[in-house]
Amino acid sequence: MKLHEYQGKELLRQFGVNVQDGKVAYTPDEVRTIAREYGQAVVVKAQVHVGGRGKAGGVKFSPTIDKAFENAEKILGMDIKGLTVNKVLVTKAVDIDAGTEYYVGMIVDRNVQSFTLMACAEGGMEIEELAAERPEAIIRHRVDPITGLRPYEAREVAIRAGFKGNLNKIADMMVKMSQAALARDAVLVEINPLFIDADGTPLALDTKFEIDDNAMYRHKDLLDWRELEAEHPLEIEASKYGFAYVKLDDGNVGVLGNGAGIVMTSLDVVNRAGAKPANFLDIGGGAKAEIVYNAVKLVSKDTDVKAIFINIFGGITRADEVAKGVIQALNEGILTKPVRMRIAGTAEEEAKALLAEVNSPLIQMYPDMFQAAEAASRDANSAGEAK
């Protein structure tokens, strides 16, 4: 679960990290009130779950109260990468020239089977860009997942990264960030920029914070922060069914299968057949007819989808249950797009018999995944041309 900047800051503040003052506002009037209260220059920052807000004009320095109001009017309601801005964070502006900007972050790193702490003297840049351009500028340190980051380690990292300022305060902040990350099951925490003022005191100006979805059961107090409207509507619906579903851009073939690996490979096969997958949908192992029915219903709702490719390798999953689910969707009039299926394994013959009974051109079985994918791709592409 991705958190907004203001939410991430709140969590860090709870663990004692020195975070820049700020308040959330939903209207330009509220922004004006906050700016007046602060009585100094502020920054108005769009709170949306996408990167690159700044470049898109979603972050604006506001030297006066009127300017803050004006900027809030521009930013609120703005569309950034398909998401509408409906709230902003108003923070006290900091005189960047009176200090230095750095980067610190902690991510789940499968290569070390733990967290990696990253620190870089070049703050403000996206870490991915930096990693691509000047990887040697980023100091990396494995954090022990049992003990967490210790002060002496934080000091060593700060020294190696070339941070200037009060070494103990900086290390203390990194330790507190690590404590927040471990206690809140973060998969990613970034403080970027980390501002260190002329006195050497660190201050978190912006943050990213993402929590492990598998661990949300122990962070029930944060469930209110989940914003379903920020996700694709079909992803929200899929999560209700418990499907692993990802909407993919520019696709025309709906893809579903049983198991992440087989679905990933199904995407590849559709690509190879000249069409584009419109989604990833794993119905899981041992799915019954109703689950298949729900999956077909979900994929059918996607207007990008012109044909559906179902790829099942039956072990626990029975082919006849898959067939039943698809037939139910057909009977209920939900299924209006061609379904091209490959269902190998258990109860394959029963499935064939059921489909033969229905005998609809919309549902067709193929002996292997390539033929099924090719048929679905052909159907999808010709439906596109027909438009």
Binding site: R110, G261, I262, M264
Partner: protein, 303 residues
């Protein structure tokens, strides 16, 4: 023989009395696996379909001389179940559970590795965790400790199979079987970012196994385990390895079902994995059927 498990393995099931644990205990028994007991805290002393159930791994292990444990415990208790088995001195632990919090896995994996090192330093047989979020492992025709379909593993073959994906493993095993090659041992290492055993851990076992002639490695996008495997192969492997990578058309930044299947920045891309295998002359199949052709070619088997 194969690797890790064989007909002499004695298996306990942690979480036997749950829905998944029960059905797979039956399926393993049908396969021929020596399932000796179940563990369900609070149900110790009871009988489950003929199996004795214990409150703890230590009790079950002591009573039956078990040397493998398979875990079907729900996510919140899964890492604790791993630690229980590891501290009870279970040499091989298979974690099937999907959805375990990543930090729990980090801690469990680190602790299991520390226990493994201590055990080996004291002349013990070590402790190995496979998974989580994995289908388990099976030595064809001998012993299945996992959730894969029995049918495709009934006959012994001579190809070792390692995979991050469950269903693709079955697919590959079926194709190998249909092609008359068959599998020696199949190891599903799991789709999570933090797992107990990686490709590079399993490869040396296959290299040393007299019943394995070649290895099929089924990787996917995300992480750098394939790259690490390629490096190991280049340095240490004499037996042929054939690779396959799924998710080659997945976009960056999107998690493809498996928690670990995600391209982050320039880490985990198919390009990197293909390049790593190319550098050590490991052929990478574009489609699964191609795998069979490549295996046959590597082993000089006529079609």
């Amino acid at each position: 023989m194969g690797i890790l498990v064989n007909k002499d393995s004695k298996v306990i099931v942690q979480g036997m009395t749950g829905r998944e644990g029960a059905s797979h205990s039956r399926a393993m028994k049908e396969f021929g696996t020596q399932v000796v007991a179940g563990v369900t805290p609070g149900k110790g002393g009871s009988d489950f379909e003929g199996w004795p159930v214990y409150n703890s791994v230590a009790e079950a292990k002591a009573a039956h001389g078990a040397n493998v444990s398979i875990i079907f415990v729900p996510p919140a208790g899964a890492a604790d179940a791993v630690l229980e088995a590891a501290h009870a001195g279970m040499p091989l632990i298979i974690l099937i559970t999907e959805g375990v919090p990543t930090i729990d896995m980090m801690r469990a994996v680190q602790e299991v590795k520390a226990l493994d090192a201590i055990s080996r330093a004291n002349g013990g047989e070590g402790v190995r965790l496979i998974g989580g979020n994995c289908p388990g492992l099976v030595t064809s025709g001998e012993c299945k400790v996992g959730i894969m379909p029995n049918k495709i593993y009934s006959e012994k073959g001579r190809i070792g199979l390692i995979s991050r994906s469950g269903t693709l493993t079955y697919e590959a095993a079926k194709l190998l079987s249909d092609a008359g090659l068959g599998t020696s041992t199949t190891v599903g290492i799991g789709g999570d970012p933090v797992i107990g055993t990686t490709f590079a851990d399993v490869l040396p076992m296959f290299e040393a196994d007299p019943d394995t002639d070649a290895i099929v490695l089924i990787g996917e996008i995300g992480g750098a385990d394939e790259e690490a495997a390629a490096e190991y192969i280049g340095k240490h492997m004499k037996k042929p390895v054939i690779a396959f990578i799924s998710g080659r058309s997945a976009p960056a930044g999107k998690r493809m079902g498996h928690a670990g299947a995600i391209i982050m920045g320039n880490v985990g891309t198919p390009e990197s994995k293909l390049a790593a295998f190319a550098a050590v002359n490991v052929p990478v199949a574009d489609t699964m059927p191609q795998i069979m052709d490549m295996v046959k070619k590597a082993l000089n088997i006529q079609n």
